[in-house]
């Protein structure tokens, strides 16, 4: 019953099989069928693949359904650009996007992967940025928005703990370069553009080593 805690309880009522997550109604079984074209990259268990130095495939398992759905809509409409993803998402209709989002949100979260050679200093800096921020540079702690232990908050702030380091770093760089520009009110852009390469490496390595769910393993 893990999925119950994955959606904000105020908004969500999930039933087995079919579900509703605040404005998002879908069918999990249809979602599973749709996911057949996604598994090549996102893997059958939704765990994705960390590709250091290359394009990583994000973990989708256990992420908030509304967040996932928004991303699919954005990719389809072109407000989030991903040449890799675009062809697969453009095949889906709105209902399929809802179904597959619900499906992935209910998969049990898997652990994130990072580089084995991250140093102690790197991890210490990463932890500081993620939990305390650096206010002298107005880098707000990630957890202020991404929730307790960075495991996600509500429908708008996805879990980033336990996501792959390669993907986290790539997204932060994407915000800095303007490649990703679909965040509400530019809340994420404001933070990302204040980070340097060292910060990005450090925080992504540290976050990837953290449990993705409460009481979960690293």
């Amino acid at each position: 019953m893990r999925w119950k805690s994955r959606v904000s309880t105020a908004f969500a009522t999930l039933l087995l099989g079919t579900g509703t997550v605040y404005g998002l109604e879908g069918d999990v079984a249809s979602g599973e069928a749709t996911a057949a074209v996604c598994v090549a990259c996102h893997q059958p268990d939704g765990s994705g693949v960390n590709v250091p130095g290359g394009e990583s495939w994000p973990k989708l398992a256990g992420l908030n359904a509304n967040y996932l759905y928004k991303q699919l809509v954005d990719v389809k409409e072109g407000t989030r650009t991903s040449p890799t993803m675009q062809p697969f998402v453009s095949m889906l209709d709105d209902q399929q996007m809802k179904d597959v989002s619900l499906y992935y949100s209910q998969l049990e979260s898997t652990e994130g992967k990072g580089d084995t050679d991250a140093t102690e200093e790197q991890l210490a800096l990463g932890k500081k940025l993620a939990t305390e921020g650096d206010w002298d540079r107005y880098i707000v702690p990630c957890s202020s928005c991404h929730g307790p232990d960075n495991q996600g908050a509500g429908d708008h702030f996805p879990a980033i703990a336990g996501q792959h380091a390669g993907y986290i770093a790539d997204q932060l760089q994407a915000w800095k370069s303007g490649r990703r520009d679909n965040d509400p009110q530019h809340l994420m852009l404001a933070i990302a553009e204040r980070m340097n390469d060292e910060d990005i490496l450090a925080v992504s390595q540290w976050l990837s080593r953290q449990p993705a769910v409460q009481g979960g393993e690293k």
């Binding site: 904000s8 206010w135 107005y138 880098i139 707000v140 908050a153 708008h156 553009e193």
Partner: protein
């Protein structure tokens, strides 16, 4: 000359660090600039020490431990929930960046300007009494006993942040102190315009109903009105205080993004909603408003009718609180008792 030199160094550090965040991350100019105001001629600038500075400091380890405890209470005051705190706030909710951030009412000034006279309670207050004030109103709570472990730890943290600032340094010229008053709004304040600002810029975190967000039992976004927010006696219920807080600190991560007009409007909108009763309530809202009118309520909507509702006309003390006024809030005469 030594002090002048170190002052210069401070300023340089400040301009590079505190005042121009974003310069490290990008070569080009930032798309979401922070626009933190620069110090003006003649202002006293203090950069409070960090926790790293504390670790490197040559003081008794026991004092370090107590200061760390004070910081922990400051950023996670919810650990005193149900005992001293009866809403969803941490001290850090309004004194952001661990109480160090300019224009977010950094708390170090209180450690050097007090004891001093305070209009709000019409007597001379010391640091613990100032902290007790925020517990009673902003946290809708009951302050830890004067001299208790928690109170001493909090006071020690304030004092540490003021390291190096001369005692009784002139508080009125301190750079970034308090929430400096914005110019009066040219178009007055409007509930409707404020509502629009709120929906566009704030509701994503604080919720359409103002209740914020609690996830897995932990407060993520504090409530801006309702039972879990600050009470009607809190300083931030004054429009000018909230407008300046918002202007300089919200939306989170995007200070100085709203115009002054938008900040006044959204402050008026937020403070036109209900919240727990003013601990100084006499049993009659109009009477209470009148009693504290000059020193306080002429700047709030308490006891006024907004959209056909008399605000503050209720006995609601907020969620779980079962007392109106903490006992320590009492007047002092400083004559033989």
């Amino acid at each position: 000359m030594a002090s002048l030199l170190s002052m210069r160094r401070l300023l340089v550090a400040l301009v590079a660090g505190v005042l121009a965040p974003g310069v490290y991350g990008t070569e080009t100019s930032p798309r979401v600039p922070t626009n933190v105001p620069q110090p003006e001629e003649g202002q006293f600038v203090h950069v409070p020490p960090t926790m790293d500075d504390l670790e490197n400091n040559d003081m008794h380890p026991e004092l370090k431990r107590v200061i760390r405890r004070g910081r922990d209470l400051f950023v996670n005051t919810q650990q005193l929930r149900g005992k001293n705190v009866f809403n969803n706030m941490n001290c850090n909710s309004c004194h952001m960046g661990e109480g160090r951030l300019p224009f977010s009412a950094p708390v170090w000034p209180a450690a050097v300007v007090l004891p001093n006279y305070r209009g709000k309670n019409d007597h001379v207050n010391n640091l613990e009494e100032r902290i007790a004030g925020c517990f009673s109103f902003s946290m809708n709570g009951k302050p830890p006993e004067y001299g208790s472990d928690d109170m001493v730890a909090l006071a020690a943290y304030h004092q540490w942040l003021a390291k190096g600032v001369p005692r009784y340094q002139d508080g009125s010229t301190m750079y970034g102190r308090g929430y400096p008053r914005l110019p009066e709004p040219e178009e007055g304040m409007s509930f409707e315009r404020g509502e629009q600002v709120y929906q566009e810029s704030c509701a994503i975190c604080h919720g359409e109903d103002g209740s914020g967000l609690v996830q897995n039992g932990e407060v993520v976004f504090p409530a801006v009105w309702g039972d879990d927010s600050y009470n009607w006696g809190a300083g931030i219920t004054r429009h000018f205080t909230l407008a300046s807080f918002v202007k300089h600190n919200m939306p989170l991560g995007q200070p100085n993004k709203l115009t002054d007009q938008q900040s006044w409007d959204v402050a008026y909108y937020i403070n036109s909603h209900e919240r727990p009763q003013d601990p100084r309530y006499t049993g009659d809202v109009k009477e209470t408003r009148e009693k504290y009118l000059e020193t306080f309520h002429k700047h709030t909507n308490y006891g006024l009718e907004v959209n056909g509702r008399l605000l503050g006309d209720h006995e609601n003390l907020g969620g779980e609180k079962d007392f109106l006024k903490p006992e320590v809030l009492r007047s002092r005469s400083f004559t033989a008792e």
